[in-house]
Every structure is written in structure tokens, then in C-alpha cells.
Symmetry: none
Subunit: 539 residues, 2 copies
């Protein structure tokens, strides 16, 4: 029986099959980096045979360094009645430059007849030829036996033949998939045990959550001898999602004592799960096990008085082991560890005894209570901390803004902003158009600043996300805006919260520019001629 378990993350491939999940290439690269930090062993980046976005992803990661993870590309076995060597899909896997190829094939006789409509014999050849071809190209090959459990229940002999073929062709892993998510832990346990008696190749499990048993089925497979678990962060995936790695990893490591990732990596689990939720622009359930904001939150009076005596009375693990926090009543302590980490990163003297530290923690708690969430907005957090500990020069302050959007039938919409700000003590009035209201505000504000800081022309808004905060009366109707800004070398994230999307955007925009100006040198305002050249005549 294995004592360690390898984690195969398919957030970037199967995860994007989930409703409402759509990731740009840039999003995928950010997530891959985070997954690598978390310490997963395989990152499935996409299906290069299915779309050009995934091809671009593999092109871009080809020369990137990953510390822990191998990148794997996904595809299917060759088409029926053809050669593996000529198969476009298989060749895309080779061309992707990924070290590892993961291919799926059919194990359920019903699917062979119904879905791909070929003979059982030809299906076996498709598996054998495909694995062998990829092995001949020097790749590590993971064979995903799609619908293995349904296939085994229907025709065990044939299901076993399919994985035997993958083994004969030299597959490095045989992963048993409960593709429809309909199996129970007792079935998974019995079938994995039977498989382990038939094949010598290392076995993995790929479970789905259709019966709310994705995590349990993954654990049952490991307990029966599987050495690899495939899943997604936060359980993203088609229908009810894939097995949730954010729960599986701590269950394996803390409860079943398998060697999975390092203790330090495990302590980043909450932060990684929340970061990926922000990037994917999903609503993370507060009650998500281990990593949710309420996972260790106590409301009941009896529970609270008991945990004050001893936390283990109502907590199954120490929350810090997964980077989460206990929360009692309305006190919002979440994020404090992030604050600490950030403060250390900035070399601030962040000591719990200092008045400044107490004040900034109070302030952050209050902002979090209002709906701010600094997980995805490092730059806004840095500004807050620098302001509290070092003081920040107040470069500009708002006097007022007006924003007008006008549309008539069959005409393009028009957005205009008027901004009145004090920059270095001087009141400046600017107006600008934009392709949207936030862009108009951005343009108007920049106009006021660019004469002092000409190089802010180079930065641009690269992402913008809005989330309605629907939790409770306190935040009803509020929106959180998350903004990403980029210059040639860096990008940074800021946020704003308000019941008004324009105001929330304004706050995020102001932080974005304040951050951009950190450490930049002010120049003397341009003379009239230069102003004209810069289009600043109307301030």
C-alpha cells in the first residue's frame, strides 16, 4: 500500500467545464503558479487538441520553471480505424511540450457501442496504440479510464481488459474514473481492490461529486490502494463538480496520515483556494470545508463558551494547519495571517503589542466586515499597511466627480466623466470620455496626474471584476470591484466596495494609481506646449 499520494490537479481543464467558469490564458497561468506553490504534483493545463486557447497556454508555460508540479496535456485515444502516428489530437499532445500526457479512453462497453460506435476489439487497439505512441515519444503517460466504475459494474471482464491494454502499452498510471459521479464509497472500495489484484501499474482515482461523495470516493480509493488523486481546487467542474482537492488534501494528510504536500504548503491551502476562487470569479461558499470563511466559525452560545475553555471541544483540527482561522461571533479575524505575512514582506515592524498594529488590525477587520476581501488585492493591502506604518504622501484627493452615460436607440453609447481633484495642493478639473464609465473616470483622473507623472501613461487596466455581496443585511446590495492594473513589468490588484458600482470602481481605481505612484518621482508640470502635446489643454 502506498504511504504517499500524488495530487493531480485538473482545475484548468475539467474545472473549466463547470458552469460559470471561464479562464483566460493569463488566468490559467496565474492559477498554475499558485498550484505549483501549493505543491500539487501534476497540473493538467488543457486540451491542446480542442482549442487554440489551450495551445497558447502550453506555448506560454513551455519555458516557465515549476518547482513541484509537472505540466500535463489532456487528450483522447486515437480515432477509430486510424493510426496513432497520424492522429492530430495525439500529435498535439506531443507538440504541446508538456512532460506528461493524460489521455482518456473507454472502459464501459455501453459507451463503446453508443458514444464512439465501434467494436470492443477496436477500442482495445485504440487504447494500446495511443499509449504506446505517446510512450515512444518519451512522455510520461497517464491513462484515464473513463467511466471505469460504470463499465466494471456492467462488464467487469471487459473493463479490466481495457486497463490491461494500457498497462501492456507502458502507461505510467492507470486512473479509474467515476465520470458520472454515481458510485458509492463501498463500490469504489471494492472495485479498486479488485483492480489492484489485476494490474501492477500504479492506480489513481478521478471522482465527481454528483452524489456529494466526490471526497469520500477519493478517500475510499486511496484506502484501497490508489496512489494518485485527480480533482480540482474548490471542486470546480461539470455538473456537481470534480472531487474537491481543497478537502481531499487535508483529509489525506491530517486524518489518514499520508504524505501528500509539506506542512508549510498545507498551511497555504486556504489562501490558494480563495485566490483561485477570486481569479475564477466564483462565489466561494462560506461553509466550504477546511478553507471557507465559516469553516471554523462558532455561533451557538454553548459552543462558544466551550471553545473558550478548549478549542478542540468543537473543532476537528487546528484551523491554522490549513491556513484558516477560528472565528467567534461577528469578530472577523480572517485575513490576519495574510496581513502578518504581507507586513513581514514589507519589512514593517508588525508587533502585536504596538498600538499601530492594533489599530490597523481593527481597521482591516472593519473593512472586511464591510465586504472588503484582501485575498485578491495585494496592492490595496500594501497601501493600507504602508499608510499605517510609514505614512504615505497624499498625492491627490478627490473633490468631486460626475459620471454620465447616455444612450439613444441605434446610436453608440457615450460615457463622460468630470473629475475635480487636488494634486500636490493644486485643484485640477478634467473631463474625459471613455469606452465605458470606469474608463472615462480613469482617463479623467490620469489627465490630472500625467503632467506630474508622465510615465503613468504606460500603465493600463488589465482586468476588472465585479461581485455582488449577497450575504446579509449588512452588505445587502453591495458590490466588490477587483481591478488589475499592468505596466510593462508588473501587475497589481486593488479593490473597492460600495453599494454603487461606480463608487466601488472609483476606490479601486484610486488605489491602483496610488500604488502606481509609490516611489515615482514627481516632475515639474509641463509647459503649455507640452500640455497641448499631451492633450491636457482642457484641465
Amino acid at each position: 500500500m502506498p504511504t504517499s499520494v500524488k495530487i493531480f490537479d485538473t482545475t484548468l481543464r475539467d474545472g473549466t467545464q463547470g458552469e460559470g467558469i471561464s479562464l483566460s490564458v493569463e488566468d490559467k497561468i496565474k492559477i498554475a503558479r499558485k498550484l505549483d506553490e501549493l505543491g500539487v504534483h501534476y497540473i493538467e493545463g488543457g486540451w491542446p487538441g480542442s482549442n487554440s486557447k489551450d495551445i497558447e497556454f502550453f506555448d506560454r508555460v513551455r519555458d516557465m520553471k515549476f518547482t513541484n508540479a509537472k505540466i500535463t496535456a489532456f487528450g483522447s485515444t486515437r480515432r477509430k480505424n486510424s493510426n496513432a502516428e497520424d492522429d492530430i489530437n495525439l500529435n498535439r499532445l506531443v507538440e504541446s511540450g508538456a512532460q506528461v500526457a493524460t489521455i482518456f479512453g473507454k472502459s464501459w462497453d455501453f459507451h463503446v457501442h453508443t458514444a464512439i460506435q465501434t467494436s470492443l476489439e477496436e477500442n482495445l487497439s485504440m487504447i494500446y496504440d495511443s499509449v504506446r505512441y505517446l510512450k515512444s515519444k518519451g512522455l510520461e503517460v497517464i491513462y484515464d479510464a473513463e467511466h471505469f466504475f460504470d463499465g466494471y459494474k456492467n462488464n467487469a471482464e471487459y473493463a479490466l481488459q481495457t486497463i490491461q491494454k494500457a498497462q501492456d502499452a507502458g502507461a505510467d498510471w492507470i486512473v479509474l474514473c467515476d465520470t458520472n459521479g454515481g458510485s458509492l464509497p463501498s463500490e469504489i472500495s471494492a472495485i479498486v481492490t479488485a483492480v489492484k489484484q489485476h494490474v501492477t501499474t500504479a492506480v489513481g482515482i478521478h471522482a465527481h461529486n454528483d452524489c456529494e461523495l466526490g471526497v469520500a470516493n477519493s478517500l475510499a480509493a486511496v484506502q484501497a490502494g490508489a496512489g494518485q488523486v485527480q480533482g480540482t481546487i474548490n471542486g470546480y467542474g461539470e455538473r456537481c463538480g470534480n472531487a474537491n482537492l481543497s478537502s481531499i488534501i487535508p483529509n489525506l494528510q491530517l486524518k489518514l496520515k499520508y504524505d501528500v504536500i509539506s506542512d508549510e504548503q498545507l498551511r497555504s491551502l486556504t489562501q490558494v483556494s480563495r485566490y483561485i476562487s477570486e481569479i475564477a470569479n466564483t462565489h466561494m461558499p462560506v461553509n466550504q470545508p477546511y478553507v471557507g470563511n465559516a469553516a471554523f466559525a462558532h455561533k451557538g452560545g454553548i459552543h462558544v463558551s466551550a471553545i473558550l475553555k478548549d478549542a478542540s471541544t468543537y473543532e476537528h483540527i487546528i484551523p491554522e494547519l490549513v491556513g484558516n482561522k477560528q472565528r467567534v461571533l461577528v469578530s472577523e479575524l480572517a485575513g490576519q495571517s495574510n496581513v502578518l505575512v504581507k507586513a513581514q514582506e514589507l519589512n514593517l515592524d508588525f508587533n502585536n503589542e504596538h498600538q499601530k498594529t492594533k489599530e490597523i488590525i481593527e481597521k482591516i477587520k472593519d473593512l472586511e466586515h464591510q465586504g472588503y476581501q484582501f485575498e485578491g488585492a495585494d496592492a490595496s493591502l500594501e497601501l493600507l499597511l504602508r499608510e499605517a506604518f510609514e505614512g504615505l504622501e497624499e498625492i491627490f484627493t478627490l473633490e468631486s466627480f460626475k459620471m454620465l452615460v447616455e444612450k439613444t436607440a441605434n446610436h453608440a453609447v457615450v460615457s463622460e466623466a468630470i473629475v475635480k481633484v487636488k494634486v500636490h495642493g493644486e485643484t485640477i478639473y478634467t473631463a474625459a470620455e471613455g469606452n465605458g464609465p470606469v474608463n472615462a473616470l480613469d482617463n479623467a483622473l490620469r489627465k490630472a496626474l500625467v503632467q506630474y507623472y508622465p510615465d503613468i501613461q504606460q500603465i493600463h487596466l488589465s482586468d476588472y471584476k465585479v461581485r455582488v455581496l449577497d450575504e446579509k443585511d449588512a452588505t445587502a446590495g453591495k458590490v466588490r470591484v477587483l481591478m488589475e492594473t499592468t505596466d510593462f513589468n508588473n501587475s497589481w490588484n486593488t479593490l473597492g466596495v460600495s453599494s454603487n458600482i461606480i463608487e466601488a470602481s472609483w476606490y479601486a481605481l484610486v488605489d491602483s494609481l496610488r500604488y502606481a505612484l509609490l516611489g515615482r518621482t514627481r516632475v515639474e508640470p509641463a509647459n503649455k506646449e507640452q500640455q497641448e502635446r499631451l492633450g491636457l489643454v482642457n484641465h
Copy 2:
């Protein structure tokens, strides 16, 4: 081994310990009626010893008729070093008028020492006395052994003594609680098996979801001989929630073939779960197993082409068994077969040879190229298809809108919208404020429509997401707005794409209202008096 399983619902008691869940007495009564229709066997209404709201609940249900469920009141064993007869908490249970009393006591020696701080012997007496007193009052008594599994792991002998005492005192059920949610199915299975060898009283399971194993643990207990499952609809509850009955009931009935509720009642499961989610004012995850909106939703092109051949290729049960339905999502990852399925769902004559079909497919491709993504916006897709195939009555058309947002330093931001639309041929001018620009537009547009369609006042915007489309030059700077709108029974999703967030929101809003008006009957415009009552005097 039992062949039937009794369902004990604690949505109204343990469920309300969940963060963000707060139910009025009226809410609780509505939910109790729904639970009775669903066919649960016990409804735990609250803790009359802990608050007056729960006392009121029991007063109000006392004379109500329930067809399937018995109402039960919750409380604890008597206080240490006192008499059961004089215990206020126990007497509240008797006075509540509930047929069944559910009391919890300590099984974990650590808790006896730490939380209630008494002797192990006194704790046994507390259990015995309390159960016996309630039995003497003619009540059915369910004894909840709190922290039973943690207690058993720490001191099996003492844990067994505690439930032996409950049995000796005449308890009708002994329910083993995994209060902290930290146990694994393999542990639950072994411990329930051991308990069944020690007691003859019927045994139940009460699991929590802290390891994302609440459902699996409940099933493991039943498979080891438990005849009662306690849980909550949608898994509401403290921290990560209680075991989710919305998944447990179909798993027990459809997968493990236990007799739980009738087939007809099971077909109401989706509707009951969504109804309770509405009453509790929670955001129901789309990917919730069995009952979620995406539980049987298909996105991948390969999956979609297979389910067209046979739905069981990628569905573990027939969705209608739990009152849910198959949905096909249209997305970049899918081919046109997804549109075909949607058209079939709407009974449209969608034949590839028809000119209409070719046109609408071209149109959808074109919209997708612009950044539309219909997978999350069923209602917008339905409107497109209905318009192309059936024609849709043009109820209202935009003449113009103006939207103004104004902010001065230290003052609240103000949003105003002016809308000029033609409704049934009549030009209507309305203006409204809002807590944000989209809300202001929504209010202004609704004002124009509500006199013809008064019941659109009941619908409300329930979610709103914005995404910048940063993929390609063609869509640079564009934003996609996804909007969810809800009335009491349904919710629908619409979208809009534009380089201007306000315009994109407008498109999504217009689709949302067009969809809401499908099949609604126009009423004659209200007279002046009615208009004043409705606040429509300014059109």
C-alpha cells in the same frame, strides 16, 4: 438490518446555526409545511428552553395537522447536581406540546471534564434521569449522544456506558453524533457496527460536513445498521453545515434502495430544496448535487454529443426522479449540438436544413465571437431562439436612457436614471434613483412596465457579475455582464456584452424583463389613483 430509514430534519434548529441563516417564526412554519409534504419523519422545530421565538413556534404548530412528520423539540439533559423534575429546560420540552423530545447529552469524557465540568458518574445520572423523566411524561424520546465518535475513540467503554444509560431509561432512539464533523466513513462504519452489538435500541446518525464527508458518513452509518438519519435541507448548519438531506435522501432511496419517502415525494425534492433556499435567503450553489441548477447541466461538446445519443452516458440518474432536469450549456467548448438540445427542449423545429436554423446558428456564433457566452444565460438564449422561430411580441423598445452618478468628497454617491421607452406603442418617460446605476436603470424601466404588468414588482435581481473580456484584440475592453433574476419559484440568467458596463447591464436587464414577461398577460394601465399608489406619477 433495517430496510427503511427515518429522516429527522433539523433545518429549523441546527440549520439556523449556519452563518447567514436567520428564520422568523413565519418562515419556520412555511418550511415545516414543506418538509411535511416532502415526507420527512421528524421535524425538529427548535429549542424551547433557549429562546422565546422557538416557544412561539411550538405554540403555533400545536394545533396544526401534519401528514407525515412528527414535531420534535430539542433540549439538553438536566443540569448537573439537580432533579430532572425541576429542570426548566426539560419542562419546556414537556410544555412545548411536541410529541417527541430530542435531548442531547455528553458521551466524550473530555467534554464531561472540560465543558460541563462534572464527574463521569454524575453525567451518566444526568442522561438516565432526563430520559426517564421525559418518558414518564408520555413522550417519544430521541437521545442524541453528542460527540459520540470522538468520545468512543478516546474512551470506548465510557461512551458505550452513556448510551447504555439512555437505553436503560427507555429512550426510543439513540442517535450517534459526529458533532465536530471530523470522523471518516471508515471510522463511522466500524463504530456504528460496534454500537449495534452493544445496544438493542434503534440507532441513528447525526453527521456534520467539516471534512466534506457528511453525506458519506451518514450512508456509512446506515450501511452499518443505523435506521435514522439526522440532517438539514441543503446542508445548512454551523461551520461547514450538517449532513445534507437533499443528497442523502436520493442516495439512500435510489442508490441503496432503502425505503425512505415515496417516489412522488422524491420528485418534489428539487422544488422543496429551492423553496427552502428562498425562504432562508441563501444563495444556492448551482452545482449542488441532485437539486442544483447545474446538477444535470452539460457543457463539453463530446459529452453533449453523447447525451444526445443516450442521456445515461453522462447522467448517473434520470434527473426527473428528483424533480430536476437536464440542461445543455452553450459555450466555447461545445459545438452547435448544444443549441440543438436547447431548441428541442423548447419544442422548436430545429432542422439543420432550414434557413432559420442556419441563420440563428450564424447569429449565435457571431454573438459568441463578440464575447457573449450563453452557457450561463439560458434565458437570453431562449429569447434568441424563440424570436427566430416563433417571433416574439415587442413589448417595449428603448428610445433613450441617461444615467448620472455624482459624488463629492465626504458625501454619499447619488445615482439617477432617466429612461424613455415605448411600451405597447406608447412613449413613457420615467426617472428613478437607485443604490447604484444598474439599480437606478432597473427602477426606471420597471416603473414604465409595472402599470401593464403589476406582478413584475415581485421579481428582483439576485446576482450580478461582470467580467472583462481580455482575450483578443477583437474584444479588448469589452465587458460581459451576467445577471440572475429571481421570483418566488424560479430564477433565470441573462447577459449583455458591450465596451460599456452600463450598456452591457442594460442589455442584460432588458432580457431579464423580456423573459419575465413571456406569457404574462398585459393589464389595462392603472388609473391616476392607482398610479399614485404605485408611485408612477412622474412618467
